[in-house]
Amino acid sequence: MIDENNTIKITYREALKLALRDALQKDEKVFLMGEDVGRYGGAFAVSKGLLQEFGHERIMDVPLSETGFVGAGIGAALGGMHPIVEVMTVNFSLLAMDQIVNNAATLLHMSGGQLNVPVIIRMSCGTGKQLAAQHSHSWEPLFAHIPGLKVLSVGTHEDARGMLLMALQSADPVIIFEYTAMLNMEGEIPANAGIVNSTNATVRKEGKDISIITYGAGVYKALDAAKELIPLGIDAEVVDLRVLRPLDTETIFTSVRKTHRALLVEEAWGSVNVAAEVSACIMENIFYELDAPVQRLCGAEVPMPYPKHLEDASLPQKEDIVSMVKRMLQHDRV
C-alpha cells in the first residue's frame, strides 16, 4: 500500500524477497541455489514462491553439502553464470569456508588477474532466538578479515530491498549477511526503492554529541537508544557501517570529527572483531579529534547459552547503549 509520502510498509523478509525477484528477472545468468530454497520455501520463507515463479533451473534445492554447493557456485561463476548461493545460516558457513577463503577470495590474485569470481553468498545470521551455542553466531568479523571478499551487512529495510542488486554489479565475491531476528519486522521504504549504494557507510540519524557506530542487528537498537537519549538532551549520531569490508573510514571519520566521541556497538564477540578494527582506524587517523576514549559494547566472550536471560545478558542491549553514552558524556555528573 502506497501512502501519501510515497512510502510502503514492508517486512524485512518481503524486502529481501523483492530484491531476489528483481535479480532473477533482470539477468538470466542469475540463479539461486541453497538448502531448502525451493520446495520448502526457504528456511525462513525468504524465497517462498520463487520456485513457482522461476522454476527449478533458476531456483535450485541442493543437498546438505555446503563445501560442495558453495564451491559449485564459485565454479559456476567462473564458468559464466551469476549465482546467488544461500547458505542457510552463517552457522553452517564454516563447512564452506575453505571454498570461500581459498578459492573465491584468492583466485583473482593467484591467477595474476586472469580470473574473477562474481558469486554472491547470502546467509542469515544473528542472535536473539535462544538457539544456543551452535546456532547463534555473529561471524561477520571472520569474513571481514579476508582480503578479496566484499562483506555487506543488511541492517535496514532499505538495504534489504536494495543491497543485493548492487552486489550483483560486483565482479568479485560478495558475502551478504541478513538478520533472522529482523525478518518479521515491518519498516517503511520509498515505494520506488531499489538498488542502493553498497560501497559506503551511512549516517542513519544525524547528531552532534556522540557517534554510535554499528551495523546489522545493532542499527535499529542504536536508533532506539538515540531516541531515548533525546529527552535527556543528548543528540547522538548513528552510523551504520553497512560495508564491513572494505571499510568506509571516511564516513566514520567525518562523523567522529563532528561529535568527538565514538561508541562502537557489535553483537560479535569483542576480541578481534569489526569494532576493534574501527577503533584502531580512529586511533591511527583522528586520535586528536577525540574528547573521550573510544568505547565498545560487544558480545560477551562466551558461546551462546540457551536460556533467555543469559542470552540477553551476553549481548549489547539498548539499555547498555543508553547508559554507556551517558557515561561517555559524563552525563551522570552534570
Partner: protein
C-alpha cells in the same frame, strides 16, 4: 580384535522385555507431545525437533548397547536420551533452560549431554558429530577398552563430506563404530530423491568396505535384532558397521515448518505404520499384554511426564553472574 564380550542372545520376546520396549516408546511419544505443548506455551524456546514416529529406532538400537558404550546424536535426540536412561526430569529441565537440566540449561533441546550415561550430545551441525564418533571409537581401541561407539544421524547427513570422511577413517583405522542412519526420507523439506543420487543409503557402506544392513525402522523388534547382530559383528571383528533404519517423521521438521514439501496423504500412509500401535498389536496377539496393561502403562507414562514437567518448573535459573562459566576448564568449571 579379541572378542571377550559374550554374544547377546538373539531377540526373543517375553512379557517383561515386550513391556519394556513398549513403555520406552510410549514414554518418548508422550514426553514429546508434552514438549510440543510446552513450546506453544513458550516454556520451551529455540528450536524443537520432534522424533514422533521414529521411536522404534532409538529404543531398538539401545537394547544392543551396554552402559559403557558411547552414544552421539543429533538435535533430534530426545528419544535417544530417554531410551539411554537419562532422567526425564533432567531432560525437561534442560529444555526449560534450568540449572537442573542435564546440560545445566546451557544447551537446550538440541544439546542434551550426560557423561555418566556416556551420552555425548546433541549436535546441531548436521554430520558435525560423525568425525568425533570415529575419534571416540579410536580412543577405545587405543586404550584396549572393549566398548563400541554408536552414532545416530539422518539421511541428510549422508550428503555431507563429513559422513564420507568418517566412513573412510572408520574403515581405514578399523574402529568399533556403529553408524546408525535414521532415514526418515527428508532432510528438512528436501526429499531423499532430491538429495541423493543413490537412495539406498546402505549401499554407501560397500564403497568403504564397511559391512552394512538396512532395516524396517518402524518395527522395534526388527531394529533390535539388527542392532544386536551389528554390535556382535563389531565386537567380533573390531570393524565398523553401517546400519540404515528406514523410518518417517510424523510431525514437522521443527516448530517452524509449514510442511509445504509433502502431501498429507503420504504422512497418513506412514502413520498406519506407527511403531507403537504396531508393537501393542503384536504383544496383544502373542498374549504378552492386555488392554488393561496398556491402559495402566499409559497412566504411568502420563505420571512420569508430569513429574518431569514439575521438576523442570521447580528448577532454578542460573544467575547472570555465572554467564561466562564453562569457557575454559579450571577450578570454577
Amino acid at each position: 580384535m579379541e572378542n571377550t564380550i559374550a554374544i547377546q542372545a538373539a531377540t526373543t520376546i517375553d512379557r517383561a522385555h515386550g513391556s519394556e520396549l513398549l513403555y520406552q516408546m510410549m514414554m518418548i511419544r508422550r514426553f514429546e507431545e508434552k514438549a510440543a505443548e510446552l513450546y506453544t506455551k513458550m516454556k520451551i524456546r529455540g528450536f524443537l525437533h520432534l522424533y514422533v514416529g521414529e521411536e522404534a529406532v532409538a529404543v531398538g538400537i539401545m537394547q544392543a548397547l551396554t552402559p559403557e558404550d558411547n552414544i552421539l546424536s543429533t538435535y533430534r535426540e530426545h528419544g535417544h536420551a530417554l531410551a539411554r536412561g537419562i532422567d526425564a526430569g533432567k531432560i525437561m529441565a534442560e529444555m526449560y533452560g534450568k540449572m537442573e537440566g542435564c546440560s545445566r540449561g546451557r544447551g537446550g533441546s538440541m544439546h542434551l549431554f550426560d557423561v555418566e550415561k556416556r551420552f555425548y550430545g546433541g549436535n546441531a551441525i548436521v554430520a558435525g558429530h560423525l568425525p568425533i564418533a570415529v575419534g571416540m571409537a579410536l580412543a577405545c581401541k587405543k586404550q584396549k577398552i572393549n566398548n563400541i561407539t554408536c552414532c545416530f544421524f539422518g539421511d541428510g547427513a549422508v550428503a555431507e563430506g563429513a559422513f564420507h570422511e568418517t566412513m573412510n577413517l572408520a574403515a581405514l583405522w578399523s574402529v568399533p563404530l556403529l553408524m546408525v542412519c535414521e532415514n526418515n526420507l527428508y532432510a528438512m523439506g528436501t526429499a531423499i530423491r532430491y538429495s541423493h543420487a543413490v537412495q539406498e543409503l546402505e549401499k554407501k557402506g560397500a564403497a568403504y568396505g564397511i559391512e552394512f544392513a538396512a532395516v524396517n525402522g518402524m518395527d522395534v523388534l526388527q531394529v533390535e535384532k539388527a542392532a544386536r547382530e551389528a554390535v556382535e559383528k563389531i565386537h567380533r571383528t573390531g570393524r565398523p558397521f553401517f546400519l540404515v533404519c528406514n523410518t518417517y517423521r510424523f510431525r514437522a521438521h521443527s516448530m517452524f515448518d509449514a510442511e509445504l514439501y509433502r502431501e498429507k496423504s503420504e504422512v497418513d500412509e506412514w502413520k498406519k505404520k506407527d511403531p507403537i500401535p504396531a508393537l501393542q498389536k503384536q504383544l496383544l496377539g502373542l498374549q504378552l499384554t492386555t488392554d488393561d496393561d496398556i491402559k495402566q502403562m499409559e497412566k504411568k507414562v502420563d505420571q512420569e511426564v508430569q513429574k518431569a514437567v514439575d521438576f523442570a518448573e521447580a528448577g532454578t535459573w542460573e544467575p547472570v553472574s555465572a554467564l561466562t562459566k564453562f569457557v575454559y576448564s579450571g577450578p570454577n568449571k
